[in-house]
Amino acid sequence: MSGAARIEENATCLGCGCACDDIAVVIDGGRITEARNACALGVRWFGDGSLPGAVLGGRTAAIEDALGEIATMLRAARAPLVYLAPDLTSEAQRAAIAVADQLRAFLDSFTSSTAGEGILAAQRRGRASATLGEIRNRADVIVFWAVDPAASYPRFQSRYAPIPVGIHLPNGRKDRTVIAVDVGGQRGPDDADVRIQMTAEEEPLFLASLRASLAGRTMGDAPIVARVTELATRLNRAKYAVIVTDAESPPSVPNGRADALIALSQSLNATTRGSLCTLRAGGNRNGADTTLTWQTGFPMAVDFSRGVPRYQPEDATLPRLARGAIDAALVVGAASAIPENVVKALGGVRTAVIGPRASESAISASIRIDTGVAGIHESGIAFRLDDLPLPLRALLPTPRDTASLLKALGTAIAAQGARA
């Protein structure tokens, strides 16, 4: 470490939705050399902090020209798309939504093609939820439903539950019962106290039977009932039961899991207390849902084409692209983190990318503007997977601030007048 090294304490990691905010980032010579406390996934996410700073594809390298050309392209489109990729501050997300509103565009995020099913289920039923601090301090029974957080949410267990000591769990892990529910190949943690297994085909019936059991009824045949009864008994004895599910890894064949888990966690509250914890991946995904909701009333798939927000979750980005209903796109955020099928579907659509490493993106975009990564190069707010807002501080300079750039794009669009 050279004399110029500095340590940025309490940085928030957006490597996954856990948003651990206790990372000590060591910076030496303008590069991140260490991310203390971070898991492997977090270390990868922070990287060394280096970024390209290019403006590609415009008639000149001047940012004003590039923005003007993006504005012209989007205004000329019949049906433009604004797509929120990960690694944006909520300030940038809000500015991107403003641009979509102004353009009467279709606005979507990665949520519609990943965690959308759970959001729709929660709109039908509501949800019983708890923030991670509550789970840490209160949950004595934790059911990992077809998810082992070790892979995609590496610090979940050590930082939130089941490992830490909590106010009502003075002995930490010893005071908690961990139940792994394995659904086909989707397994719970190896070190669970109890393991319950089912095939993917059995899952819907198992969930229905479990809810029936909690309500004092029996449903299903003996082999299912035996497993159901064991789980129901443990849930009913819990002081505070939490069911953990992974919104980013839904069943390979949709089977109503998200809906059933919401109903299950709600019904726990007839006799004891319980919540559902929905894991989300990194890059401020919950922020996209949250900011879009407060600005428009809807969390994803918002169509502004009639001058008002219309909710189109059944006709989101992928089907629109597939049937040629989008003729220009602005991708904002880390294009490298966009689902593969969306990248593919964008091929052939005139596209501009504003985000970190836009210049290296696999998307064939006409204009690309490099910006910074939320929480590494850009300050603002990000939302943890439990929807709590956390601060982001710029640890390194950004090539250009995404939120400011999007506001400037809005000004450029306004200067060109209303869309025809």
Binding site: R127, E134, T290
Partner: protein, 548 residues
């Protein structure tokens, strides 16, 4: 526009003793001034009624809970799309959606369209305060502030248990300062923590909350005293135990007596003024509550009127929402929040054919009509709990127009109304000045906002100008002109400008020795770093605090 003279209007400015007086109002640089040069531009308000901009002392408009509610209600939003207004000030207008929980921009536009220029969000989880600030940034025109939830906070309870009352006060100050809040809010003191422990009912003010010496009574006393000792402009803002439950008037009055002699604000009292007995009978106890408030000048309140139609119940009081979910079968959100508070949400419809909703409607009106001091019993619907803020004009008509009110009373379910004061006939009709009190001057005084709620020199030039109409609902729903800090935001009934509002908050001091103990607590139990807790970058100057 830096200067403007409003001429010819009838001024209803109860804080300055004006009751329909016709005189000029002079505005310079966003404030009201005593005079202007003769060549200043003029707005002719002849024949119109002029009041200060409306102030909503208790609404849910900018908070994590509100956005959870927004997310729950796509069907409402689909039915009430809100196109971007045609603005003339160069700001880019925004579309949105309405319903009972409108999107942020639409919230700002619609409040301003009603002549409201200041709104307080009544229930913000401290840990989510930065979201509230961000949502207010997206809520144009209105000045915004919020109350932060402290009645079910684990660290506070620990200080009460240990009889560390100085530290409890310091903690309250630290929370206010860290979150950029304006006042201390207590929701169902102790009851939200008990709900998390699966204890679903608070039977008395002396029920233990964990430790035997932590009780609803102690929580109320400690936080009421903290607000007074810190010299906060607004006293502790209390949502009592047992909201919405038959017979809860006993608890409400006991809570008031517990704080007798201390300043305190009791909110949405309609929901806390029921006689009878749970599961057996249910009737109005508005008279008892109104009489207590009438005779205790240290007490202020707002009504939390129920208005027939769609609402969304949305509160930190998670336990009550579970009951509502099971009794209505409607969808339900519960969120237990970070050892601080809770949240429950259930969409709800108040039907005039329903006995309980009709009783609630009557109880609210009785609180208005039996309260002798309008300065201390002000207008709210606990938006969106009792109804949307968009129903305020109709509520004003119910208060001002006895014939309209009596006609409506005949059409509601009478089952639980026997013996109620309203059913027996109340002749009172609110005057324009009394309306000005319960919608502006009173809230401003209760909140300690010396620059708002009146039209005297030095006040913020937040002004609403109405055309007279025999139908008061019509008159109050479509002001002709609205000025916000001197800017004409509504002109001839149309929203024309949407400047950013200001933030209203306090920054009280505390003894730094708090931080060592708090640091240990965070280290042991928090899922957020202490250093990341405070909101930074607050804009606008804080309101002063300190001994009066």
């Amino acid at each position: 526009m830096t200067q403007l003279r409003i001429t010819g209007g009838a001024i209803h400015d109860p804080a300055n003793g004006a009751d329909g007086d016709v005189r000029d109002i002079c505005i310079s640089d966003g404030r009201i001034v005593a005079s202007l040069p003769p060549d200043a531009p003029v707005l002719n308000a002849s024949g119109m009624v002029i009041m200060a901009g409306g102030i909503d002392i208790h609404a849910h408009v900018a908070a994590s809970s509100v956005t959870l509610g927004r997310r729950l209600l796509p069907e409402e939003h689909t039915l009430d799309p809100a196109a971007a207004p045609a603005l003339e000030d160069g700001t880019i207008p925004r579309s949105g959606t309405g319903g009972t929980v409108p999107s942020t921009f639409t919230t700002g536009y619609r409040y301003a369209g009603l002549g409201y220029t200041t709104v307080f969000d009544a229930a913000v989880a401290p840990v989510s305060a930065r979201q509230t600030h961000a949502e207010f940034d997206d809520t144009p025109i209105i000045d915004g502030g919020f109350f932060t939830l402290l009645g079910n906070d684990e660290y506070l309870h620990r200080q009460i248990a240990a009889n560390e009352l100085g530290r409890a006060k310091d903690y309250a100050a630290w929370i206010l300062k860290s979150t950029g809040a304006y006042a201390i809010k207590v929701v169902n003191p102790g009851g939200v923590e008990l709900w998390k422990r699966n204890v679903r009912e608070v039977k008395t003010l002396d029920d233990p909350v964990g430790a035997s010496n932590v009780t609803p009574r102690r929580i109320l006393e400690v936080l009421a005293s903290a607000a007074i000792d810190l010299g906060l402009p607004h006293p502790v803002h209390i949502h009592c135990n047992n909201l919405g439950v038959a017979g809860n008037v006993t608890m409400t009055l006991e809570s008031m007596r517990a704080l007798e002699g201390r300043r305190a604000h009791f909110t949405h009292l309609q929901f806390h003024s029921y006689g009878g007995e749970r599961g057996k009978s249910w009737n109005s106890a508005a008279r008892q509550v109104a009489e207590y408030v009438n005779s205790h000048p240290e007490v202020t309140g707002d009504v939390g009127q129920v208005m027939f139609g769609d609402a969304t119940t949305l509160t930190a009081d998670g336990a009550v929402e579970y009951l509502l979910h099971t009794s209505t079968g409607r969808k339900w959100i519960n969120a237990d929040i970070e050892l601080e508070t809770g949240c429950g949400i259930v969409p709800y419809t108040y039907k005039d054919k329903a006995a309980v909703a009709s009783l609630q409607w009557v109880v609210g009106l009785e609180l208005f009509l039996l309260s002798t001091d309008p300065w201390r019993m002000v207008l709210s619907t606990d938006h969106p709990n009792g109804g949307s803020f968009m129903s305020y004009p109709d509520l004003i008509r119910l208060l001002m127009d006895r014939a309209y009110r009596d006609e409506k009373l005949k059409s509601v379910n009478q089952k639980m109304l026997a013996g109620s004061a309203l059913a027996d006939g109340i002749a009172r009709e609110y005057t324009l000045n009394e309306i000005a009190i319960i919608t502006r001057a009173g809230p401003a005084r209760q909140l300690g906002l010396v620059h708002k709620g009146h039209l005297g020199a030095g006040a913020d030039a937040d002004i609403t100008i109405y055309s007279r109409d025999a139908n008061f609902a019509k008159m109050f729903s479509t002001p002709r002109f609205v000025l916000k800090a001197g800017t004409l935001v509504v002109e001839e009934g149309q929203l024309r400008r949407a400047p950013a509002g200001k933030r209203i908050y306090v920054q009280p001091g505390y003894d730094d020795s708090l931080m060592r103990d708090l640091g240990k607590y965070f280290e042991a139990y928090s899922a957020i770093q202490l250093a990341n807790y405070p909101v930074t970058g607050l804009r606008d100057a804080p309101m002063p605090t300190g001994a009066a």
